[in-house]
Amino acid sequence: MNVSITVNGTVIKEEIEPDLLLIDFLRSHGMKSVKRGCDTSNCGACTVWLDEKPVLSCGILAARCDGRSVTTLEGVRDRAREFGAFLADEAAEQCGYCSPGLIMTTIALLSENPDPTPEETKEYLANNLCRCSGYEGQMRGIQRYIAWKKEQGGKA
């Protein structure tokens, strides 16, 4: 079947298999930030935004995204670098495999709620597993990023 999906602002038109998952569609188009870590929707490494909402790209058919807009980390690199620097200050990106998903979900959180409490942050990011960091350093990075954003006077 033919689909037309906007990926990071660029329309991709392609003939695809009916059961192709969005993650495989994206990776085949060079969006290698999108990672597969499990097959049961638990790990969140494949998180992208579908029409601005964070979703699991391993949990949706590419066909279903026909006519819709998808954003991957490749589409928000500047924002990722800005926030990622705070993770890096804590060395909390570690192996980095979960970082793209974590960053996509965190940015989504902050656009929904610019000043979340640590508990709200943990709950929102529950779908992003990380096995390296113990989460603590990532939480420090996120909180420092939020504080820095506030200092900048901008919205997080």
Partner: protein, 255 residues
């Protein structure tokens, strides 16, 4: 992951219904579906049928089948109707990204034993809206085969309610070991216990019933069994604890 011969985005419910034969599948949020290895000659997507969203119909809310669980969780209307219990029932389900995809229709049509959503909906006055034209009380719907009918939504009647929801999970976002919903509304107290691990069932009690009486009835009339998440005995024990906690919180008027 399942395999599909064809993906069809239905243009009408009529079309979806006519396509929905043996070996085909209606797509909900497909979060649980994709964990299976099934083969479907056709997967039918209802995304274009305006079935997503919560509509205030005056005396009830109609929640469309394609409404993501996350939208229900965030709904102020559902939250105020259920004294916040709806949110509590939903927020432990895997994670935000998961709940942005998983739909009410998928959950209702899947009739999953571990479903928090079904446990919660059972204690509300809710009916399942089906195509072709039919509307069944949720409890009745759960007892009969769905056949090739299509779940188009759930209608939740507005009423003056006090609600509680509690679940036990081995980790915060694990499938529940036991679920418990309680509502005090017109005509008494309704109690639903799910993830036993069988599908949730509802029991009703007159107003003024004690926690012990409810527990006694629940333990004697519901079946409990064992799986990876807990043994039958543990589930029976948890039922006592969760029923009492919901009841005490409701009677004590805690929010």
């Amino acid at each position: 992951m399942f395999t599909a011969g064809q993906y069809i985005r239905a243009k009408s419910l009529e079309e979806a219904y006519s396509l929905h034969k043996k070996g085909t599948c209606i797509l909900g949020g497909m979060q649980w579906l994709k964990m299976g290895q099934g083969f479907y000659s056709k997967v039918i997507d209802l995304s274009d049928l305006n079935l997503s969203g919560i509509t205030d119909e005056g005396d009830s809310y109609l929640v469309g089948a394609m409404t993501p669980l996350r939208e229900m969780e965030e709904s102020r209307e559902l939250s105020s109707l259920t004294s916040g219990a709806m949110k509590e029932a939903l927020r432990h389900i895997v994670g935000v990204q998961f709940r942005n995809l998983a739909t009410l229709g998928g959950t209702v049509a899947g009739k999953y034993g571990f479903s928090d959503v079904l446990t919660m909906l059972l204690v509300l006055d809710s009916t399942v809206v089906l195509y072709p034209d039919e509307e069944l009380p949720l409890a009745n719907y759960l007892e009969e085969p769905l056949g090739n009918r299509i779940v188009t939504g759930v209608r939740i009647r507005k009423e003056n309610l006090s609600c509680r929801y509690a679940s036990m999970r081995n980790t915060e976002t694990d499938l529940p070991t036991l679920t418990c919903a309680m509502a005090k509304g017109d005509g008494g107290i309704r109690l639903a216990i799910g993830a036993r691990p069988q599908i949730a069932k509802i029991l009703t009690f007159p107003e003024g019933v004690s926690s012990d009486e409810m527990t006694g009835t629940a333990l004697s009339s519901l079946s409990f069994s064992s799986n990876l998440r807990g043994s039958e005995d543990y589930r029976r024990h948890l039922a006592k604890v969760l029923i009492r906690r919901c009841w005490e919180s409701m009677e004590g008027g805690e929010q």
